[in-house]
Amino acid sequence: MRRALDALVQLGVPALLVVAVGLVATTVSASNKVYFENALVSVAVVVAIYVFVGNSGVLSFGQISFVAVGAFAAGVMTVPLESKQGVLSTLFPLLRDHTIGNVPSLLLGAGLGGLFAFVVGLPLMRLNGLAAGIATFAVLEITHNVLQQWTKIGPGATTLSLVPETTGPLQGTVGALVVIAVAFAYQRSRLGRQLRASREDSAAAAGVGVHVHVQRLWAFTLSGALAGFAGALLVHQLGSITTEQVYLEVTFLTLAMLVIGGLTSLWGAVVGALAVSGLDSFLSQAEQGVHVLGLKLDLPSGTRLVFLAAIMAVVLILRPSGLTGGREARLPWPWRRG
């Protein structure tokens, strides 16, 4: 009973927070809505990364590769047929002459992301520490390079545009919830618990028969599928995308979100994504002048990035275990006893 309640809280609190963000998004002006949609997609991306990095304790710089694959697959396959044959004429005929719906494109993103992650993870999941970090970074570089150059599978170095903008508050909320639910189910499953045990002590876990390599591969594949799904959400939110938007900067930013929230918990991933996106949106507004508690806040233009980076650095220095301390959501103290 007690444990069921804990589980309900651990899943329910992040889910309610996401729903709240989605609900607020429907009430604000069209120009502000984009910030909330952004935050919802960020939650999906960061939770997807968390599924591997948080559960395994292995730092990966490669998860944005799967976001990129999901985004370009879903984008290319949903550009309307009549425009596609004009702007994307270099594609393989199979890709050029077919188009799919919104939901199938999300599933395609997830499938391709997972498949790619599995193939990559098969050799790479043997690595640890910095070697794993650099190898996954190499995957990001290769993915970026190929997507940028190979015009038979995508737009190459030009912008992919005319993608239907289906990720509004509803799709953003539902999408983030799906990712959170899958991540939660995984970390409570036997596979997830074994991987988390190996994070604490991989030698001991191997000693009791946990195959760390295989466990990591599962998490990497699942994380890749969720990242591909999140990438599809992203492209449908933006409507147009270039390879630079799913490359280095977003890799560092999403990892920072995860660490700032608290690397080792689902709650940390959700809180980190929302806190940093929220801060970023606030600072963007402040550059144009906002009223806060009766005071007019007007940042000089161009200072948004300075404040964002400085605040992230200060939070990391003062709270290295993250805003949530790496713990899952819990009821406030008075309800926790008994």
Partner: protein, 303 residues
Amino acid sequence: MILGVLDFQTLTDAVGLGAIYALMAVGIGLVFGVLRLVNFAYGQLVMAGAYTLAYTSAWPLAASILACFGVVVGLALAMETAVFRPLRGQSPAVMLVTTFAISFLLQAIALILDLRNGQLGEVAASLTTLAQPISIAGAQVREITLVELGVAIGALLLLALLLLRTTIGLHTRAAASDFRTARLLGVRANRVIPASVALSGLIAAAVAVMMTVQAPLVTPDFALRETIVVLVGVVVGGIDRLWTATLGGFAIGFVSGLINGLLPTDKTVYLPSAVFALVILVLLLRPEGLFAWGRRAAVPDRV
């Protein structure tokens, strides 16, 4: 066949690039040794030095270079006090991600400073005469390549002397090998760590001077890409030891230089993929480092 197209100029350029990357690898490796911290913001030290050179280009050359060294070492020490010290003993992920934030912060500040005159980029042109080719034994070599080689070899020798022959060097090596025991013996963390960071700053300043000769236009992302490549080289070479890290840096610089010189640009579109595929292959075959022969898995000792 390859030797047929490998002219002297390409070879020396590749060696020169390898030398610069080797120096950056030493700067990154020194700090990693004593702090177990991968300083992603290392490139922004170089960037700060390059901007200093640009803004002081009206000064006498020696004063300009001195200012560059002063700013970079000062910034490195400030980073140590404000960021590295409070993070000592934290997990590698937290330390690395914090240096991402610092890297972004410094780039954002540089962007604002740079844009005050309404256009992006500043020119650091005081030393560009060194980029002129001169003739040695009938072959054309750019003067900077020789300077690079001289500075890199000189700096590496000085560093080796410092580490192998002085007391602070002995303490630094001990701290890098087993900080806990070193402290038990009385090695002061608060002396060894700032010393290493200052030294890495000196190296960054020297790199800034040399890189601005090659590429005088300084922008906020100056040295960012190079830092990433050097980090890859350092891990591929073996980050646990300074000399394997340095060799890794040299190797990746030398190989990049050779490839750039040998392949026509229209053939190089998939080159990054090939290079990074090679990186993955090496990491899979030798996860402890390409040059880390007969070494057991390192046990990281944090302060």
